[in-house]
């Protein structure tokens, strides 16, 4: 059944396939590659793309192809860690808030409301500024600290509506209560929403990390796609016309976002029957 619905949902199929491809390349790439090519002074600086250096070299003589291959998994890592932590916390808060209601709901809802009003980048800039030594993992956790807000709101809204459904009421009358009811009756029906929230959380986390890195707050000693753009900007790659320096990370970011966009559009069709009818 799952395969049949993929056939009727080309956006989801293409999106997932593209994501799978990126992940395979991100995992296999660094293993197959000679990592020494990404070291300072490995090659003559500022080479244009050629057969020997597919994307040329930067002003420090790093092979851009090697750098991009090493940077992609690190960037994906930030997105996945921040997305999963954000989604887990968000799901927990959303379920508790939506199912139990009352004072705890008021607290969680107000917290989410307040945090939505605060622009994430401002808080992230402030926190990242005062971190002495930024790493990829730390970056992911800092971004995760704000990534719970959207999932919390989305899951809470769905839980509120699921709570009133007949089958939940029947389970309740049968004496299933509290945690068991949430886990066995409500959670399984939230799965498509969880998937959609996860994709949204990952893509928001990627936007945040790339933005912070471009501002110069990223992990200075790691290769990530955002740091490539920061160093390119720092060494004037744009004004010098060294398109092969900033072009590959931008292209990769674009491909990652295309696949996420297609996946989320596909999931929307699964989740939201009104869109399916309109299309």
């Amino acid at each position: 059944m799952a395969l049949a619905s993929l056939g009727r949902n080309p956006a989801l199929a293409v999106g997932l396939a593209l994501l799978g491809l990126i992940i395979v390349v991100a995992i296999a790439g660094p293993v197959l590659l000679n990592q020494g090519h990404a070291r300072v002074g490995a090659f003559p600086p500022g080479l244009r793309p050629s057969g020997g250096h597919l994307f040329g070299t930067d002003t420090q003589g790093r092979d851009i192809f090697a750098v991009v291959t090493l940077a992609t998994p690190e960037t994906l890592k930030v997105g996945l860690i921040a997305g999963s932590v954000g989604l887990s916390i968000g799901t927990l808060l959303g379920l508790v808030s939506g199912y139990f209601g009352g004072a705890i709901d008021t607290v969680i809802r107000t917290a989410a409301d307040v945090m939505t009003t605060i622009p994430g980048i401002a808080v992230l800039v402030l926190v990242a500024t005062f971190i002495q030594k930024m790493t990829v993992e730390l970056m992911a956790l800092i971004i995760a600290s704000l990534a719970w807000i959207y999932p919390t709101r989305a899951i809470r809204a769905q839980t509120l509506s699921l709570r009133e459904r007949a089958y939940v009421q029947i389970a309740k009358l049968n004496g299933v209560g509290g945690l068991e009811l949430v886990v066995r009756e409500i959670l399984p029906n939230l799965l498509p929403y969880l998937a959609a929230s996860f994709v949204a959380a990952v893509s928001n986390a990627l936007i945040a990390t790339i933005g912070l890195e471009a501002l110069g707050l990223g992990p200075q000693n790691s290769f990530t796609l955002g740091m490539m753009i920061y160093w390119g900007q720092f060494y004037g790659a744009i004004l010098r016309g060294m398109w092969w320096w900033w072009g590959p990370p931008i292209a990769l970011i674009l491909i990652i976002f295309v696949s996420l966009l297609l996946t989320s559009a596909g999931l929307d069709q699964v989740v939201n029957t009104r869109i399916r009818r309109a299309a």
């Binding site: 605060i118 622009p119 402030l126 500024t129 004004l239 674009l254």
Partner: protein
Amino acid sequence: MTLEYVVRRFALLVVVLLLAVTVNFIIPRLTPGDPIEQKLSQLVATSGGQVGDITAMVQAYRARFGLDQPLLRQYVNYWVALMHLDLGFSLDNFPERVADAIAAALPWTVGLLGLSTLIAFGIGSILGGLLAWPGTPRGARVAIPVFMLLSAVPYFLLGIVLVFLLAIKLKLFPAGGGYPFGVILRFDLASITGIIHHAALPALSIILAGIGAWALAMRGMIISVLGEDYITLAEAKGLPERRIFVWYGLRNALLPQVTTLALTLGHVVSGAILVEVIFSYPGIGFKLYQAILAKDYFMIQGIVLLLIVSIALTMFLLDLVYPLIDPRIVYRRR
């Protein structure tokens, strides 16, 4: 009910402001090490030891910024200073006051962001409306996915590509800055065209990136408006298609579309910060980038606080104004 809404909304604003100021106060003090001492020893290192007695300078700075007092006292002082719009001094460019630097940069950001957001809003809304309208030619629909992709990726990436193509390769526009180099800004034609010429590319990247989001939101609005009875009635009356689309469809979908403006404000502003960095545009975003490069902590804090407070205030005002211009919104909210 309306009063209750205003009170609730105001309470939310107060909580946001309290939180913003407190976080801005606490986070720098949580980190190990003394940023001022670090900044000064860095100054010593780069100036070849000609700065003089470093410990005396640290003492002077600490007394100046009140860092030698108890924490609660510092917190109160922080609030008192904020009430006087005193955000401290720039660490990088000492006698300059953070508030003055921000005041100088702010008009550039507000002008660039305000105008380009309005243009993106206009184009995006019309495009989104056309997308949901059955009578739209197929050709117009092709543009939409492209714009949607552009609004999904971070704005400033588009800016990099635009600089390369239109400024470096074709030399149609300047690659950076806010006005022609060496020109003293006056209120004359040369200054104004110079400013517009420099603002064109950053504005274009904000507009291109914004259209998709507006179009998508408008498509949803129009779809729900098209289901309304008055559209059926207008069709039954035999009104021309175009008239129904513009005066019955677009017009009624446009107001709720303004709500989306408040929701996306944070996103729009953070995107614009990075666009300014790419174009060395003399606004708040570029100031922030320079402050981060120079580890100018008071400047960073000041700009962060400004961003949070101004967005919170704008959202508050917009939320209060909507129910006045569109009575339907109150009922939808609660």
